[in-house]
């Protein structure tokens, strides 16, 4: 089998970026949540809500960006719920997050059934995001057909990396939210509204997770199916630790994960004789290995998992 060819390499590289995109979006969002001290295990359910809402809106209105907007919006609604549970009520973050995921998993399918009734024939589809060539850049060898010929959401995810980096390291918001996640009492004393900051971060996390979910139904395919995010939300939870909560490392982690995923997908598609089920295990095993490797160096936000409540 012609593995080590230029064409294969291009296919693999281009797919890497696509496989990385939802994980990148979700993990960037998770970084917001966790940096502010909230572990958001609701990301998988939020993604599914994004996938279903984005699809439904696009299906009826026919505008992709409106669909993305709706996915982000529903993601924010899920983030709001998460914030209400974990910030206002101070519930166990693990449990609140799992609750959100349960809810999102069920509700996404429920809504789809409600609005897009099953016909028993071919499933309804939309015209999804298609690759866009960036003028001038798409001609560059290797990079052109891989990075610069992708659906808009890939560009969105990539552009978000430096933007998020800028927010985290160069703005008051970034300083504030990091402080809130490290020492909420100190942040409060310094005049930062801990609650508002955490709400904001969870809203951002929700919006990004919603868009990440929409990727599956609106770019990587053209239909919605229950559970179609395939556990990518959980991967985000692992990657953010791997990346030490830094957006640039998140990019690296997402590409690494996407790369492994793409490698197993391309191998399988080209008929390389290796049990594909074993290949499917790789990204998860790999993530655990990486976690073990970085665990001692991981500098968790000190207030992660701790609800903040002002006494008195």
């Amino acid at each position: 089998m012609e593995i080590l060819t230029y064409a294969f390499f291009i296919t693999f590289l281009a797919m890497t970026f696509r496989m990385a995109t939802p994980v990148l979006l979700g993990t960037l969002g998770e970084a917001f949540a966790e940096r502010s001290g909230v572990l958001n295990l609701g990301i998988e359910g939020t993604m599914l809500m994004g996938a279903s809402t984005g699809f439904i809106v696009t299906y009826f209105i026919g505008d992709l960006w409106l669909g993305i907007f709706a996915a982000a919006f529903i993601g924010m609604a899920m983030g709001l719920l998460m914030a209400f549970l974990s910030v206002t009520l101070g519930a166990q973050q693990h449990v609140a997050g799992l609750g959100i995921t349960f809810l999102g998993t069920g509700l996404s399918f429920f809504l789809y059934r409600l609005f897009v009734a099953p016909a028993g024939g071919v499933p309804p589809t939309i015209v999804p995001f298609r690759p866009i060539e960036i003028p001038g850049l798409s001609g560059i060898p290797v990079l052109g057909p891989t990075i610069f010929t992708q659906p808009a959401l890939v560009y969105l995810a990539l552009i978000l990396v430096p933007i998020v980096g800028f927010i985290f390291y160069r703005t008051t918001l970034g300083l504030n939210l990091t402080a809130v996640g490290q020492n909420p009492k100190a942040a409060d004393t310094a005049g930062i509204n801990v609650f508002r900051t955490r709400y904001l971060c969870l809203l951002i996390a929700g919006a990004l997770a919603g868009i990440a979910g929409a990727w599956f139904s609106m770019a990587q395919s053209s239909q919605f199916l229950p559970g179609m995010t395939m556990g990518r939300g959980w991967v985000c939870v692992a990657l953010v630790i791997f990346a030490n909560w830094s957006p640039y490392r998140i990019l690296g982690g997402a590409l690494l994960f996407g790369g492994i995923d793409a490698l197993q997908t391309t191998f399988a598609a080209l008929g390389v004789a290796f049990p594909y089920r074993i290949l499917q295990m790789f990204p998860y095993i790999f993530t655990i290995v990486i976690l073990v490797a970085v665990a001692r160096r991981a500098t968790y936000p000190a207030a992660l998992l701790q609800p903040y409540r002002r006494e008195g």
Binding site: P118, G120, G121, V122, P131, S221, T266, A269, G271
Partner: protein
């Protein structure tokens, strides 16, 4: 339990309108295999006046219990029992007066379990023949669901058909390992297209989208072959045809037998009713192919005189002079 067995036979023959069919299914109604049965039941409802209820997403763990529940309420219970063959049969045994029709890989059971499956390898073979003619790179891609016999025999038949018309064809075959994963199916199809496949057999959803994307962005026209249902709507410019499963003859036959036997149950393998000769399997309709399909595909089809080839061969299949072999081994890429 079904209550008391009534020994006296009703004087009047059974009215179709009095027949209640239950259709509980383990998977979801969106699944194309289920969709084919559903479509036939809707037709039976419209044309014969039977009533039917369906319920999906039951799962194989629950299906036997649901079979028990539905057995007392319905005259005929149609279901898919692949994942719980034994348990489903044990459940059916307790209700000898209810007619069961299982989508199953195993045989029928006296007195009341009839079985069916999608035996659409014949149109799959023909589709393969077309594909063999249409490919220029001599590479055909296949994205399949799970390598189970009913999938394997389609892909193998498709491959045999392609090899007949084009002995140089190489097949790239990949399985998703799932029945539903359009995003990954699309990526796998894209990888095959990048690796030279210029004709695709879309056993599963997602492949259409890959081809549509290639058409939209690179103006590449990749002929597609659907599966199970008439899928031309998914990509009118690209879906040439594909094996289609028509459950109507089977459903019709089961209802007729039920009436003829005065409601007494029977056991048989309904396989022949899903094959070409009884109209249970066919090629998806052409739907004005000359206008809807991409002009390049049309040109190629006209040049190769595809329609003629298909019609000749189909006639041979119908009159029994051509047989498509059934090969259920897991197909592998060349």
């Amino acid at each position: 339990g079904t209550g008391v067995y009534i020994a006296t036979r009703p004087a009047a023959p059974i009215e179709p309108a009095a027949i209640k069919i239950g259709f509980p299914i383990s998977t979801v109604i969106e699944e194309p295999w289920i969709g084919a049965i559903y479509t036939a039941l809707v037709r039976a409802e419209n044309e014969l006046g039977i009533t039917f209820d369906w319920s999906d997403d039951i799962g194989y763990a629950d299906l036997p219990a649901v079979i028990r529940e539905w057995a007392t309420e319905y005259d005929i219970v149609i279901t898919d029992s692949f994942g719980c063959e034994e348990a489903a049969r044990i459940a059916a045994r307790d209700f000898p007066d209810t007619q069961f029709v299982f989508g199953s890989g195993l045989g029928p059971v006296e007195p009341n379990v009839a079985v069916f499956d999608d035996w659409i390898h014949e149109p799959a073979y023909i589709s393969g023949m077309i594909a063999g003619k249409l490919t220029e790179t001599n590479i055909i891609g296949v994205v399949g669901g799970v390598p189970v016999p009913e999938v394997n025999r389609l892909i193998n038949a498709f491959k045999a058909g392609a090899l007949e018309t084009n002995p140089d064809v190489k097949m790239k075959i990949v399985f998703l390992g799932e029945w539903f994963n359009p995003p990954i199916a699309k990526e796998k199809a894209l990888a095959q297209i990048e690796a030279g496949a210029d004709v695709m057999y879309a056993e599963r959803y997602g492949v259409h989208e890959a081809a549509l994307e290639k058409l939209a962005t690179e103006d590449k026209a990749i002929p597609l072959f659907g599966n199970l249902l008439d899928q031309y709507e998914l990509a009118p410019a690209l879906v040439v045809t594909g094996p289609v499963w028509d459950m109507w003859p089977t459903v019709n036959y089961v209802i007729e037998s039920h009436i003829q036997r005065d409601g007494e149950s029977f056991a048989m393998d309904l396989a022949e009713w899903t094959m070409a000769r009884k109209g249970g399997s066919k090629l998806a309709p052409w739907h004005d192919w000359e206008t809807r399909l991409d002009s390049r595909i049309v040109a190629k089809m006209q040049a190769e005189d595809i329609i003629n080839m298909v019609e000749t061969r189909w006639a041979k299949i119908l009159d029994g002079t051509f047989r498509v072999d059934i090969d259920e081994a897991v197909p592998v890429s060349d």
